[in-house]
């Protein structure tokens, strides 16, 4: 079984309670309609249960969000783009940034034309923000 971390448990609880609350509230509405009695016993029970579940669900989702906000966001990936010195050669290579890389650093020979390879750009990949 997949090991659940604390925030996943919170998320699951929140989802579970929101589903339960929807079911209960739905039952409450159905009971009111079927008997045409506003002071219906079942209906009020279901309503109370639904509201309770909703509150619990909101509480867990709040805890979940707080836990997430306290976590350090994962660093985005930095890419190093390498080009060939030779203007006629369009050799291009992209790899992940390694420490010691800098723009216009010479990094060996071109496999296509044996020209000099250099780092042309270093930039952050735009990852979908995990906020």
């Amino acid at each position: 079984m997949v090991k659940l971390s604390k925030n996943n448990v919170l998320l699951l609880l929140s989802i579970l309670f929101s589903i339960l609350s929807i079911i209960f509230l739905f039952m409450a509405v159905i009971n009111v309609q079927s008997t045409y009695d506003l002071v219906n016993l079942y209906s009020i029970d279901f309503l109370a249960a639904g509201v309770l579940c909703m509150i619990l669900s909101m509480f867990f989702s709040y805890r979940h969000r707080r836990l997430l906000s306290l976590k350090i966001l994962k660093q985005s990936q930095t890419v190093t783009r390498i080009r060939c010195d030779n203007d006629n050669c369009n050799y291009k290579e992209e790899r992940f940034f390694q420490e010691g890389d800098y723009i216009f650093r010479e990094v060996g020979k071109c496999p296509k034309c044996n020209g000099n390879l250099y780092i042309d750009a270093i930039y952050d990949l735009e990852l979908k923000a995990k906020k």
Partner: protein, 380 residues
């Protein structure tokens, strides 16, 4: 009552009250009075409480960011400096380092005073780095300085927010708490940006602010490069019968160079016969503007304390040299974190714009000085 559950038992009494119309009325009246009371007297208390809770969670996050950045600094210093002692206590105490700006009561000569203090500051930083990281290679010192600076910035933000938070909690003064809560979104944005900057500085990646230096570097690539002042380089070459002199900080360490001194020296070298100065720098965009948008104007495009700006303006005025400014727009976060692709692409466009300015606004035989301003970390 056929359906007997526990809940029914609990609610039976409530239902009995509802059945009586007089008690129902009384019940509603009581609820109304309670709500009115809460709204009238506890409204502010409740609001203050909510704001404080919000500030507290931000404060927690700030604390985490500040301590993580400190950890990164210590780890990096241990890694590259290899000190034979534990540098943490010295780093801890250096986090409170501050600079007192000169008084402006008597503004005469304030720029020189400011400059002097800034020189002392950078000297102090360098000697501190050398002291805690004795084996650090010379070209790595500026990166560690930058790293130290981001940690100091985060620490300062944390202490500031904590101050207002505790003040608000102690005094229960709505004004303090409101001020804090209203400013928090911006403060947190800065804090996150500073924290990402820590990562950039610890691995020596180019940052958005370096786009000016990148443009200069693209122009001087393949040409002979000489050092002109401490930490500043220049390259001199012919372009369409004009003499171009490109100046930038010396890379790939996190240097910003002594741009003002370099410009002064070049101009004096040619006896003031420079016909144009073109400066390229990163600038803060307004929200809604596109990152990497290039704008053209006149004046000295250089940020910071204004000390360098003053000196460049003075020498340009002395010889009546026109100043062109080319700025590349980005947000504060983008300026101090690893370069975005938009900015890299903007640098190529900026090179074309600079050459275009030279083609259209200078004539043959002119001497043109081009200055790439910014932190040249990760850019040769």
């Amino acid at each position: 009552m056929s359906h007997k559950t526990l809940m029914n038992l609990v609610f039976t009494n409530v239902h009995n009250i509802f059945n009586d119309s007089t008690s129902l009325y009384l019940l509603q009246l009581t609820f109304f009075l309670i709500y009115a009371f809460i709204l009238a007297f506890f409204n502010q208390r409740l609001q203050t409480y909510l704001w404080l809770r919000e500030a507290e969670s931000s404060l927690k996050r700030l604390q985490i960011l500040a301590s993580k950045s400190k950890e990164i600094v210590i780890k990096k210093i241990n890694e590259v400096g290899k000190p034979n002692f534990d540098p943490s206590p010295s780093i801890e105490s250096f986090l409170d380092f501050f600079v007192i700006e000169p008084t402006s009561l008597d503004p005469y000569g304030i720029v020189n005073k400011f400059r002097h203090i800034l020189d002392v500051r950078s000297e102090r930083f360098e000697s501190f780095i050398k002291q805690i990281a004795p084996n650090v290679p010379q070209n790595y010192i500026p990166n560690l300085e930058g790293l130290m600076e981001t940690a100091i910035g985060l620490n300062e933000l944390y202490r500031l927010v904590r101050h207002y938070f505790i003040l608000g909690k102690k005094t229960k003064n709505m004004l303090f708490i409101m001020q804090l809560q209203m400013n928090l979104p911006l403060i947190m944005r800065y804090a996150e940006a500073y924290f990402s900057a820590t990562h950039a500085f610890s691995s020596g990646k180019p940052i958005g602010d370096g786009v000016g230096a990148l443009v200069a570097s693209k122009l001087m690539r393949g040409k002979q490069v000489k050092r002109i002042t401490n930490k500043t380089i220049f390259s001199e070459f012919e372009y369409k019968d004009r003499k171009l002199i490109v100046i930038k900080a010396e890379g790939p360490g996190a240097e910003i160079g002594e741009i003002d001194d370099a410009i002064e020296r070049i101009i004096n070298m040619y006896g003031g016969r420079v016909s144009r100065i073109i400066m390229i720098d990163a600038a803060l965009k307004l929200e809604g503007e596109k990152t990497g948008q290039i704008a053209e104007g006149v004046g000295v495009a250089i940020g910071g304390t204004g000390v360098e700006k003053f000196k460049i303006e003075e020498i340009a005025t002395k010889y009546k040299i026109p100043l062109d400014a080319l700025i590349i727009k980005m947000s504060l976060e983008e300026a101090i974190t690893t370069m975005k692709k938009d900015v890299i692409e903007a640098a190529d466009d900026a090179v074309k714009r600079v050459l275009n300015i030279i083609d259209t606004r200078t004539s043959q035989g002119d001497i043109v000085v081009i200055v790439g301003v910014g932190n040249t970390m990760g850019i040769l």
